[in-house]
Symmetry: C2
DNA sequence: AAGAGCCAGTGAAACATTTCAGTGGAATTA
DNA sequence: TAATTCCACTGAAATGTTTCACTGGCTCTT
């Protein structure tokens, strides 16, 4: 174990230089009122300045049992396919950073050997007061949480351990916004193109991806359509993997068009899927939105930039990041985990050219 | 100062449970050979497992004087205009994370109060062995470096303090690639649309932005053109701020067209500027590339996606991130700062539709 | 003038760990 | 058998800081 190249000056050095005890220096530094003899204070002040003294966070943490630091575990930077050009991470990250900043919390990134490896011990090495994680598998999360570490899952996953906080977008609202929009345009035969349930490549590594989101959206779609008596299992399509989404979309659309009562609108689990459906429709000569309305979710650039821009539900990703930090703070200050599980409201749908009045029902 | 909600088990607890001294446990944990009595080892092993013991990084750091942690200071997530949709940060970040991961280094993000505030003491609180910073102003950097903290500036700035490492793209090569491409197409009258020298809004906050890059590119352009005897100061345009880039581009192009000998190609300091020049050319009815070749720098999506995709020099941003971590490691292990200043090679120019053979010189 | 009270500051323990320098006992050697 | 060597382990100091409990000296009150 190598030692650091430079030596910081310690409270002892300051005490010696100022001719007082370390206790006095400590009191001075921490602003206790009763150490106020002006001349002593002055000597300490100059000693600190000359020695460039800064109290060691390490020992402070040791003494206080708290470090004012949260561990953040975001797998995205290591995951090429998921992240490049996808602003999700960027926005989430920004929310986290901003909230942590205003709460005066430092953030520690654990290296992959801890994040991706099998041992979760690294998280318990005393450097952090709490943990924010994004894509840690349930088993390891459980271990960490059971050891007493406050932790918030981001977004909430299916196998959320007891005692663990969680922050997600309210997917019921997400779906609700999209469906309300389509309902108000007169659509009744509404299909859903669902996202990949879970990616195989990552099931291997034990990393739990937020593709659970796709499942939540599917469930919300199903229950809300059922509540209106409009649900038809034939109108559910799946894209099992990212690889051949275009093909999947094509097949699915063809299948739907062959139905006696084809859908007039399709709600896609995310914008990437919506784009795939859009180009499938184009290839098949199905006019959008006249013959088929398309709604996406995420409000990503790809939805905005096509020839026919796609109506999309805007997910408040940055808010999710902020709320996650807040939840973690509450958890750290002792609130019960149930109170630290929040569904961030989703309130905005950006209406664009891919949706219009349903012509069938006129 | 609040204490943490949960108490970790310490080496003492393990020692007590296993009926040995803490020394023995320590030796066991750190794999010293001479503590190998199988029965003792077994007892310690079970005690550790039962108590979920993990050695405290805090005290380890305290004892060893090194924490295997680097501080990273990236302002981008807090800077709306610069970052959204700009993959620069994302790619840089990924390089940093990957290299840190493979070097088994943790990364600590300091909060804005340290990063943006006036005090640089926060960096010296003993939690990190070195510092990677991106947009810390020269004065504060100097203070940190003088205090003996190994630090690497990313990218290299004009006012790089002595003893500080630095990693940047080799802007001479960047410009060289672009110019060679244009020369090979026969262009001789080549203009340069330079980036903002420094952003006022951030000069206020004391944050030094990497807009120095624009300056470096301008200098490289000037010297390389001069070396060929082709430099003409009239062919230099500036975009002083992001806000009215389009207008600036328009004015600049108009001005250039009015010259007796207008440029046949323009090298823009980045892709955003190249896009601005492209749309200015479109508005003015100047055909690209026939009447004007345009080269950008960065190889960003915006360069790729226009109606006429733009030829652009690909800057190895991820490499820069990786190299920065490596440089910092070398610096931390005692290498002189001069050896820890690297210019990352720039080798790739992506040729697209915005450049073609120069017709004037045929 | 004696006790009370305060002022300005100090000693030492505690936090969790590592590591130098030992120690007691057994096995080996002379 | 006595000395040596080795084994398996332990004591204690050191890292930098905070904080409880205390002290010596001074001033004030009665």
């Amino acid at each position: 174990m190598t030692t650091r190249a430079f030596r910081k000056s310690s409270i002892k050095d300051v005490a010696q230089k100022a001719g007082v005890s370390t206790t006095t220096v400590s009191y001075f530094v921490n602003g206790r009122e009763d150490v106020c003899a002006p001349r002593t204070a002055e000597r300490i002040r100059t000693a600190i300045a000359e020695l460039q003294y800064t109290p060691s966070s390490l020992t402070r943490g040791l003494r206080h049992g708290a470090t004012h630091t949260i561990g953040v575990c975001l797998y995205s930077p290591l995951d090429p396919e998921l992240m490049y050009g996808n602003l999700f991470f960027e926005r989430l990250w920004r929310g986290v950073v901003r909230e942590a900043d205003s709460a005066d919390l430092s953030m520690l990134h654990y290296p992959l050997s801890v994040r991706g490896g099998t041992k979760s011990d690294g998280f318990l090495d005393g450097r952090v007061d709490g943990l924010l994680f994004h894509g840690l598998d349930g088993a390891r999360a459980k271990k960490v949480v059971q050891a007493g570490m406050p932790a918030v899952m981001l977004p909430r996953s299916k196998d959320l351990p007891d005692g663990c906080g969680a922050v997600s977008a309210d997917e019921e609202q997400t779906i609700g916004l999209a469906l309300d929009h389509l309902f108000s345009l007169g659509h009744r035969r509404i299909a859903h193109f669902a996202g990949p349930a879970r990616q195989v490549s990552h099931a291997e590594t034990g990393i739990n991806k937020p593709d659970d989101i796709a499942l939540l959206r599917l469930e919300a779609f199903t229950s809300q359509m059922e509540a209106k008596g409009l649900f038809d299992p034939l109108l559910i399509g799946f894209a099992d993997a990212w690889q051949n989404v275009d093909e999947k979309a094509m097949n699915t659309i063809v299948k739907w068009r062959a139905l006696p009562d084809p859908p007039t609108a399709v709600l896609c689990a995310n914008d990437a899927l919506a784009c795939a459906v859009m180009s499938a429709a184009n290839s098949l000569g199905i006019r959008v939105p006249e013959a088929l309305s398309i709604v996406g979710i995420d409000d990503s650039p790809e939805a905005r930039e096509g020839a026919i821009p796609i109506t999309s539900v805007a997910v408040p990703v940055e808010d999710i990041g902020r709320q996650a930090v807040r939840s973690l703070q509450r958890l750290m200050s002792g609130e019960p985990a149930e109170a630290c599980r929040v569904a961030v409201p989703v309130t905005e749908i950006v209406v664009r050219g891919s949706t219009s009045q349903c012509v069938m029902n006129r």
